[in-house]
Symmetry: C2
Subunit: 255 residues, 2 copies
Amino acid sequence: MISVVILGAGNVATHLFKAFTKSDEVQVKTWYNRDIDKLKSYKNDVYITNNLALLKEADIYILAVSDDAISKLSSALPFENKFLVHTSGSVSVHTLDKKNRRGVLYPIQTLSKDAEIDFSNVPLCLETLEKTDLKTLKNLAEAIDSPYYKISTEQRLTLHLVAIFINNFTNQLYRIGHEIADAKHIDFNILKPLILETANKVQNMSPYLAQTGPAIRNDEKTIKKHLKLLENENYKEIYRLLTHSIQQTHGRKKL
Amino acid sequence: MISVVILGAGNVATHLFKAFTKSDEVQVKTWYNRDIDKLKSYKNDVYITNNLALLKEADIYILAVSDDAISKLSSALPFENKFLVHTSGSVSVHTLDKKNRRGVLYPIQTLSKDAEIDFSNVPLCLETLEKTDLKTLKNLAEAIDSPYYKISTEQRLTLHLVAIFINNFTNQLYRIGHEIADAKHIDFNILKPLILETANKVQNMSPYLAQTGPAIRNDEKTIKKHLKLLENENYKEIYRLLTHSIQQTHGRKKL
């Protein structure tokens, strides 16, 4: 049995809490948040508190708080030599106060508040300063069926950057598509199978090989037609830049 | 039973041929291609030819050829008043020679040569100049279990444009992610669940509501860190532009 204390009440904290609760091998000893109101609905499931002095003993203390809060909160903890991790993609492990043993548990997934999350689809990037602590994190990952990877700080920063491209930026392309379709009274449902298939395709094929369309075909007639059709200047610029990027990647001539 | 003649040997032609062959309600009378070698492997399954004079009678003649070839090939057909469709997202129905009845059957999906395609996931956009021909296309769509939509020429051009954003451009973001990950010896498999979940999420939630990340949070510290990490000028520019686009969409302040 692995015991944990969760600090924070955001999406990552909440999804981790749910995954831990489902597992027979993890026990959540305390769930802390500065604003205890956000935890009230869980008060029958776990010991909740807004007082750092009342945190119970645990194998792992998980700081699932915003990047800017990590340093201060880790310094405010009233104990030493325990094992402490944060969950951020972009913060150094050394940002945690060094009075405790330190590590990172960074989930690479999009964890919206309302969506149900199956943690077997949430790869966990693990980093620790001490080897024995890494074993503890691996055990925790296994307890909730998550695939896990030992990742250095530099790799984690890069992973976070890549996640922005394939999640936030991709989602913005969906949003742009939704907006353009709406303006012409086109049902966005028509496009949903294509969104899924585009993502499915690269599960077994490199994105390089999966590419199709007017940019890679160097089909200037269609590209010009599309640029004319686009009214929003920002979207026009995105069209130009990504077309150019595809042509660079595949050695086609420049726009 | 609906009878069809297919003209062309590219991805769309091939996938349609396979879908028609699987259906009990469709019969492929002839498969034509200028270069008959490309059809040789199907010669036991269907009558193949490279001679337009030898096309058999059918309810629908499907021109699944490149955009630039549609006009010329439709004029070269040695018959009149038959029902002819092309499969392009970006070509007007009027590009087809008017000696025949005209329409469009535009599949909104990414049809790579090697991938297996389930046509129940391929929405078909239908357009005809005559109402009775629309019924024929609807029957054909039903015969291969495809969802179908009556779409005007203007809507179809817009759909094609939107498909570029959510398929080609999204795939390029995957490619950029792959390249950046590779450079730091990060296993791209770590990122595949995130790619899938990002696509899954917008099946039931608008992309607007699904957005997360540093751009929408206006997290300038992380954005600056990422821009510094990016070495490729094109990728830096894509990061800036899409961050800006997210912030515009969500009313955040500009970069």
